[in-house]
């Protein structure tokens, strides 16, 4: 059984000018201990997917349909109290900006011990010992002294380490990491990615890693889901998606990344931009920008279909009776 199963999830935002569908019918699952990367451009709906799972959608955003199952328990539509016993204990979260996810008024020791006590019911003394152990594990030097420091006394990279310790402290089965390295410098980014990977492997924690950075995905994820305009365009093992992208959007995305050692005068580019939520075209949302669009693409919306590799892509190139399927384009 998958650890997390998302079925036909829809998230909508009712506005005065009509309801915007930000996530339109997506399904995926995450296995125990697996790292699923979720990539896409801003506005593709990747962060909203994470927020919907953890029950932190900002009103007026709401889950309009579909189901979310965690270890066999349905968790969408749970009331606030039931959800807060899951949040932290069974699903941890790491957000982009470590300064906003820590309380500036409490020492980090207090924030960690409090979380441990709430979720595990340990004694104060045991929780403190566990805090020091965790801080050492995430690579904070002299943790027994640093527990009395406030978040502003740490650098960005160290703060993100504290946030990782906080996410791990109740031993959740799943961590949702939303752009965990985006606010950090490149040299620190590598440290944090290595740490996250190492810890999750040791604890057997599954991670949903949301990022716009393909490089981070390539290094960390087992599988990757590529999102476009609120839908999953392609999902599959990371090596396949990165090296042999099947969906024309993924191909364009991979080609537009400048790579050191590839000397090209011009980068390949996808013309146009992702449509706004109120202007999503009929059929496949990518069709107006797609170099291989066919008549059908402008009318029918493709669902995820198996490609010639082991992944799936939402593209009519892989539809029935299409001999033109697959290939690297």
């Amino acid at each position: 059984m998958a650890l997390l199963e998302v079925k036909n999830l829809r998230v909508e935002f009712p506005t005065r000018r009509g309801t915007l569908l930000a996530i339109n019918d997506i399904s995926f699952s995450i296995d125990q201990g697996e790292v699923l990367g979720v990539v896409g451009e801003s506005g593709a709906g990747k962060s909203l997917t994470g927020a919907a799972i953890i029950g932190l959608l900002e009103p007026p955003g709401r889950i309009a349909g579909g189901e979310i199952w965690l270890e066999g328990q349905r968790i969408d539509g749970l009331d606030y109290k039931a959800m807060s016993s899951i949040r932290g204990a069974r699903i941890g979260a790491i957000f982009q900006d470590p300064l906003t996810s820590l309380n500036p008024l409490y020492t980090i020791g207090r924030q960690l011990t409090e979380t441990i006590i709430v979720h595990s019911g340990m004694s104060k003394k045991a929780a403190l010992a566990r805090t020091i152990e965790l801080l050492a594990e995430v690579g904070i030097p002299a943790p027994d002294q640093r527990i009395d420091s406030y978040p502003h006394e740490f650098s960005g990279g160290m703060r993100q380490r504290v946030v990782i310790a906080l996410a791990l402290c109740a031993n959740p089965g799943l961590i949702i990491a939303d752009e965990p390295t985006t606010a950090l410098d490149v040299s620190i980014q590598a440290q944090i990615i290595a740490l996250l990977k190492h810890l999750c492997r040791n604890h057997g924690t599954a991670v949903m890693l949301i990022t716009h950075d393909m490089g981070v995905i390539a290094e960390t994820a087992d599988r990757v889901a590529v999102m476009y305009a609120g839908r999953i365009a392609e999902i599959g093992p990371v090596r396949e998606v990165i090296q042999h992208a099947q969906h024309p959007y993924t191909m364009g995305l991979m080609d537009s990344i400048p790579i050191i050692g590839h000397d090209v005068e011009r980068l390949r580019q996808i013309n146009g931009a992702m449509p706004r939520l109120n202007e999503i075209p009929n059929g496949c949302a990518f069709s107006p920008r797609c170099p291989r669009a066919m008549d059908r693409c402008f009318v029918d919306r493709p669902e995820l279909m198996p490609t010639e590799q082991s992944g799936q892509a939402a593209c009519w190139l892989f539809g029935e009776g299409n001999s033109d399927g697959g290939g690297d384009g």
Binding site: V186, E219, R239, G261
Partner: protein, 335 residues
């Protein structure tokens, strides 16, 4: 660099910018604290040749954006000279002289959401430099030039009637480029022009910038923290760390044969898209506080090759055939 190149469009000599970040006088007296000076840029030299792209890379806080602001004149240097096309910019004291110089360079900023006035129509945003420098005779000519500029950056002349909020990030960055080009500059200072954009849009903007460089013979000073982008656009690259340049080299050479330990570190942090399974060695430590930088070479606490000399003595930039390097280990042949 020691030897002045004949065809240098911009020459920077010993440029420095120090910010006074002390607390107020009374607090200093009561708490008995000294003045605190942040040396954002601490004596750097480089040259940019006509028609080439020179990039500055480094982590946040290394001073690369301060250099951009100094060059464009948004900060007054604390020391050193900025020589543009043979003329020291500090000597252009009269309004007329400095306006004549300023028309020849323009800046493109990082955030296209913040750098365009939301209350102005795109037409007026792009026309402002034309009006300001009186480059057109009448309203009709201004309109024609704006239309031509919009077409040049891949937009439609009809977009001039719209407001910035009606455009996506990539289109807004095109508008900033059109505005920068409207005074017919020779030199563009681009401070992280694509880091607020998505990758598919980033490639559009980088391609546009390259096309414009070829068509108009522009010279770019390109500031970025993204090494892959820098690799793609640059002819020469300068690597900055805590207000100083550690290495300058032609782009190809820097990536093929990085010499300074900090350059090596930076190159090692690039995620591997080829999935070769290469284990990256995450670098230890973080960038120190620039208010209180380490003695000697600022990089020595993180440097695997540091010795006693590195801890005491600031390395002097050594000019080599095609670039510069400031490192004791390289100088002594230890590296």
């Amino acid at each position: 660099m020691g030897v002045a190149m004949a065809d240098a469009l911009l020459r920077i000599e010993g440029l420095a910018k120090h910010f006074d970040v002390s607390k107020g006088w009374l607090t200093r007296m009561i708490e008995n604290q000294p003045r605190r000076i942040l040396k954002a840029v601490d004596g750097i030299d480089f040259e940019i040749r006509k028609g080439e792209t020179f990039s500055l890379v480094g982590e946040s806080g290394c001073g690369k954006s301060t250099v951009a602001k100094l060059v464009v004149g948004l900060h007054r240097p604390s020391g050193g000279r900025i020589i543009f096309d043979g003329a020291d910019t500090a000597e252009a004291t009269s309004r007329k002289q400095s306006a004549a110089l300023r028309r020849r360079w323009q800046m493109i900023f990082q955030d296209p959401y913040a750098s365009l006035n939301p209350r102005w129509r795109v037409l007026n945003i792009i026309a402002e430099p034309i009006r300001m420098f009186k480059l057109a005779k009448d309203a009709q000519e201004i309109e024609d030039r704006v239309a031509a500029l919009l077409t040049q950056v891949g937009m439609s002349p009809a977009d001039g009637e719209k407001f910035p909020h009606e455009f996506s990030g990539g289109q807004r960055q095109r508008i900033s480029i059109a505005r920068a080009l409207s005074s017919e500059p020779e030199f563009l200072i681009c401070d992280e022009p694509t880091s607020a954009l998505d990758v598919s849009v980033q490639s559009q903007i980088l391609n546009l910038m390259k096309d414009l460089q070829q068509q108009l013979g522009l010279t770019y000073l390109f500031i970025s923290h993204n090494l892959a982008v820098v690799y793609h656009v640059s002819d020469h690259i300068g690597v900055m760390y805590l207000g100083r340049l550690c290495e300058i080299a032609p782009a190809m050479e820097l990536f093929a044969n990085p010499r300074h330990p900090y350059t090596r570190l930076l190159l090692d942090t690039i995620p591997d898209l080829n999935m070769s399974g290469r284990a990256r060695q995450p670098v230890q430590g973080e960038v120190p506080n620039p208010i209180n930088p380490p003695n000697g070479c600022a990089f020595h606490p993180r440097c695997p090759f540091a010795n006693d000399r590195c801890r005491d003595e600031i390395p002097v930039p050594q000019v080599k055939d095609s670039g510069m390097i400031a490192c004791h280990a390289v100088e002594e042949g230890r590296l």
